[in-house]
């Protein structure tokens, strides 16, 4: 019988984002890849580094020597210690997918057992998951997690004031007033929470 863990409101984990959750003592990385959720044990099979805190990248392939093709951006996590690449969607390493894997867990988006959980999905508390993540990483790491889509354009309204400012600065946008335009967001709280089964 698997144990069900509610990680965070689905609205708080937008595409391209991830969070690190402590699930009854087990550290697990939960990733949103283009709207689908994946969970990996935060533990590199090589030397036990916190795998899920590494940079998110894509898959580099080649048709021939000297050529490069980059694809699947955001679907590969690179271990923060030795750079081993793992497919977020399968847990398989890129260099030896059949024998070197990160453990994966089942995920889904479900109604919360505690209705209050979803109601907390307002800008202030929506940070919870990201704060968890940021405690384990540097600002530079966070840069690689964010994508330009995650700020003001977000449809789920999960972006916080602070993020909007950061994104605006980062991409050269200018705010209209002194206050971040919190009120202009079309806050459409998504139903459900991200659930991981261990």
């Amino acid at each position: 019988m698997k144990t069900r863990f509610e990680v965070c409101p689905a609205a708080d984990l937008g595409p391209g984002e991830r969070t690190i959750a402590d699930l009854d003592g087990l550290s697990v990385g939960v990733f949103n890849v283009d709207g689908d959720y994946y969970a990996l044990k935060n533990d590199c099979p090589h030397q036990r580094a916190p795998l899920c805190e590494g940079s998110l990248t894509g898959l580099m392939t080649a048709e021939a020597p000297g050529e490069f093709e980059y694809g699947r951006d955001g679907e590969i996590v690179r271990c923060p210690w030795h750079g081993w690449e793992f497919d977020v969607t399968t847990g398989e390493s890129v260099f030896n997918p059949h024998r070197v894997k990160a453990k994966t867990f089942e995920t889904s988006v479900e109604d919360s057992d505690d209705p209050g959980t979803v109601e907390t999905s307002e800008p202030a508390s929506a940070n919870a998951g990201r704060l968890d993540f940021s405690t384990g990483t540097t600002a530079d790491d966070a840069d690689t997690v964010d994508t330009p889509d995650n700020g003001a354009e977000t449809e789920d309204g999960a972006a916080t004031d602070a993020e909007a400012t950061t994104e605006a600065d980062r991409y050269g946008a200018t705010l209209a007033g002194e206050e971040p335009p919190v009120d202009t967001y079309d806050v459409d709280v998504e139903e459900g929470v991200v659930v991981v089964y261990l």
Binding site: M60, P65, G66, G83, E85
Partner: protein, 370 residues
Amino acid sequence: MAERTHPGFEGAGADGELTLIDADVHQRWADESEIVQYLPERYRDDGLVLPTLLYRNPGGYFKDDEFTDDGGTPGSDLEKIVDDHLDRYGIDYAMFTGNSWLNLGAVPNRDYAGAVAEAYNRWLIEECLSVDERFLGSIFVPVRDPDRAAELIGEYGEHPQVRQVMLPGGSEVPYGRPQYWPIYEAAQEQNLAVAVHPFSEGHGVSNPPTGAGHPNNYIEWHTLLGTIFMGQLASMITEGVFVEYPELRVAFIEGGYGWVPHFMWRMDKNWKGLRSQVPWLEKPPSEYIREQVWFASQPVEEPERPDHHSHLMEMMHAEETLIFASDYPHWDGDSPVWGLPPMDDGLERAVRYENAQRLWDLPADPGDLA
């Protein structure tokens, strides 16, 4: 009485099996005029103007018992090579690797280097390989002029006893660079191996023989020959030579082999984390080595304890990668009988001839060379 194998080695030479293939036998001319006669007219008055090794060996560079009857340089009497080496040790094939001091990779003028390479190849085919069908040839090329090199491979590579193209260990830029690929393409096309052998390191226009700079003494220079091979091999693997030319077979001769396990481990380890820089590699780097690269045994590694050598054999997959070489008639050569430490018969057969047979695609009988 031929002293062919050490006591206890069973099976060699029986039932049509080979006895020994020697990957490194240095033949040379008795007199420079033998080569000069093949130079084009515009260079004939110049003769051979080649960078020479500046590191001195207090004991000389040759086996002193191999000077010819009239006092000539060892290796310059091909019949003596037959008597003293091939017949004495039951050698089925001996790969001629030429005179170490041609140093064509260190010659500044590319046209002249090409002319000397061609003169050498004509002399090799007309005056060396014709002496005995067991002699195999490595053709020389002007490595700094890869298109000319490829032409020479096409022109001289068809001779049935020519099985290899020789590249000097010392180069201007490492051998993985695409500028050299015409050489590999021509070699693969002609079914010739490519060998890297110490020549030119630190001479003329080549790089210093170590990454640390120019050694002070011959002992320092000679100890580090394997390091320049590591640089060449790392370049060939990472730049994708073995991906682009999957039938290419490459030998590293006279750089030792104790470094091979370290090199394979380190390259595989780094590839796991740095793979995206070389995404054309389709498998761990060590697998390209095991399938397409061979290492010659001389100068044989002599560890503290004999069993350490056995461990080394296992770690480098010697049953696939190691070939015997004597380096006849040089001072640091290894005896075909006593050079290699004891090993089990299966491994010894692989090292003595099976691996070299694959490297050079050789028939069991030299009479069947075509």
